[in-house]
Amino acid sequence: MDSAAARDRISRLPDDLLHGILVRLRSTAAAARTSLLSRRWRHVWTQLPEIVFDNPHGPAADTVDAALARIHIHTAANNNNNSAPPALNRLAINFPHLQFAPFRIAPWLAFASRHLAGELSIRLARRRLQMEDEVDLPLMEKATSIHISSGHILLLPPSGSLFAALRTVSIAYARMDGQDMDCFGSSRCPRLQELYLWPVELVAVSDVSIRSESLQTLFYRADNTRPLEVVALKLCLLRAQGLSDSGRERSVPLQG
C-alpha cells in the first residue's frame, strides 16, 4: 500500500474541482453524505452550483428542508466572510409521484428567490384541489428559467416586480388567475422568449392578454380563457388550445 502522504489525495484538490465531482452525483442528498468523510469535506457539498432532489423514498420534503437549511446557513456564513460562494445555477425538486401541501413548497420557492441565478424546476404530483391550495410564486430576479408542474393554484407576484433575467417559463397542471397572465408581458418579464402554459386552468372565466416584445414561442392551453389576446412582435410559434367557445385567440404576430 502507498504511504500515508500518497493516500487520500482527493482531499487536497481545490474546492471547485471537488464541486465538479460532487455535482455529477446528480443528488444533493448523496453529495451531503460526503460531509461525513472528514473535516475537509464538511461543507464542500453546500456550495455546489446545482441542487437536485428526486429520490421519492423516505421523507422527501423533510430531506429537502434539512438540506436547504444547511446550505442557507453556510452560504450566509460565507457571505459574511466576503468570499462570494459560487452561483447556484440550478434548483431541481422532482417528485412527480408525491403530493405536497402549499406550506411545504413555499420555503423552497423562498430559497430559490433568495439564492437562485439560473434554472428552477419543480415537478410534483397533481393534487386534488382544495380551496386553500394557493402557492405564491415569489419574485426571482436572477432566475433564467422556471418550470413548475403541480396541481396548486399558482399566484404570481404583484405588479412592480421584475423577472429581469427570465427567458423560459413552463407551467403545467396549475390553476392560475387570468389577471395574473399579464405578468408574462414585457413590463414584468422583459427577456421572456418561451412561454408554455400547457395545460393550466384559470380559476375563473376571464380575458387574458399577454403583451411582449421579446416572446418568440407561446404554447397556451388554459381552460376558461375568453378571449386570449397576444401581442408579441417577435412571436414565431403560437399554439393555443382549449379556449372556451367565445374564446378565439386574437394574436398579433407583427413582424418586428
Binding site: 487520500d8 482527493i10 465538479g20 468523510l37 472528514s38
Partner: protein, 174 residues
C-alpha cells in the same frame, strides 16, 4: 474552404507544436490535438509552440502530460468536426470505449489528471475524470467512500466526530 495563413493542416503535413512538462520532457504533438486545451489554443493561435521554442507547462509532469495527450490525440478528430455531427455510431462507440478504458487507472493518476485538465481547460477530459470519481462515490456509505478513496482509517476521535455528524445528517440517508 479558405485556408487561414497559419495553416490548419489541410496543406499536407499537420502543424506540430512542442509542449514541455514540469520535469523538462518535450512532447511533440499536432496543434489540433493540443488545441483541445483552451489555454494552449490561445498560445497556438498566436503562433507559439512551434520550432525549437516549445510551450512550458510548469504544473504538469511528464507522466500526466503523456496521459493528457493520449486523450487529446484520440479526441482531436471528433473535436475538429465541431462535435462530430457526421460521426458514425461506430466512431462514437469507439470513443466511448476509449474513454472507459482511459479512466481505468490508478487514483493518484486520476487526481493528477483532474488538476491538469482543469489547468489546461480541457472540458471533455475534466468531465470524464470528474464523472469517474463521482461513479466511485455513488451509492456508497461514508465509510465505504473513505475506503474507496484511500482515506486512512479514522482515529477514535474522528470516528466519534463522524458518529455525531451521522446523527445530524440522518436526512441524507433516506
Amino acid at each position: 474552404m479558405a485556408a487561414p495563413e497559419s495553416g490548419d493542416g489541410n496543406n499536407g503535413a499537420a502543424r506540430m507544436v512542442t509542449l514541455i512538462s514540469s520535469d523538462n520532457t518535450r512532447f511533440e504533438v499536432e496543434a489540433a490535438a493540443a488545441s483541445l486545451s483552451q489555454t494552449l489554443q490561445l498560445t497556438i493561435l498566436d503562433g507559439g509552440g512551434g520550432g525549437g521554442d516549445g510551450i512550458p507547462l510548469p504544473n504538469v509532469d511528464s507522466a500526466t502530460l503523456s496521459k493528457v495527450l493520449e486523450y487529446c490525440i484520440k479526441h482531436a478528430p471528433a473535436a475538429a468536426n465541431g462535435g462530430a455531427p457526421n460521426a458514425t455510431a461506430v466512431d462514437r462507440a469507439e470513443l466511448e470505449r476509449f474513454d472507459n478504458e482511459f479512466v481505468n487507472i490508478d487514483q493518484s493518476v486520476l487526481y493528477s489528471l483532474i488538476m491538469a485538465a482543469h489547468n489546461l481547460e480541457i472540458e471533455g477530459l475534466q468531465s470524464l475524470v470528474a464523472k469517474k470519481v463521482a461513479d466511485m462515490i455513488k451509492g456508497k456509505s461514508p465509510m465505504e467512500i473513505r475506503r474507496t478513496l484511500g482515506f486512512p482509517d479514522p482515529t477514535p476521535e474522528e470516528q466519534a466526530e463522524m458518529n455525531a455528524h451521522m446523527l445530524e445528517y440522518g436526512w441524507a440517508y433516506e
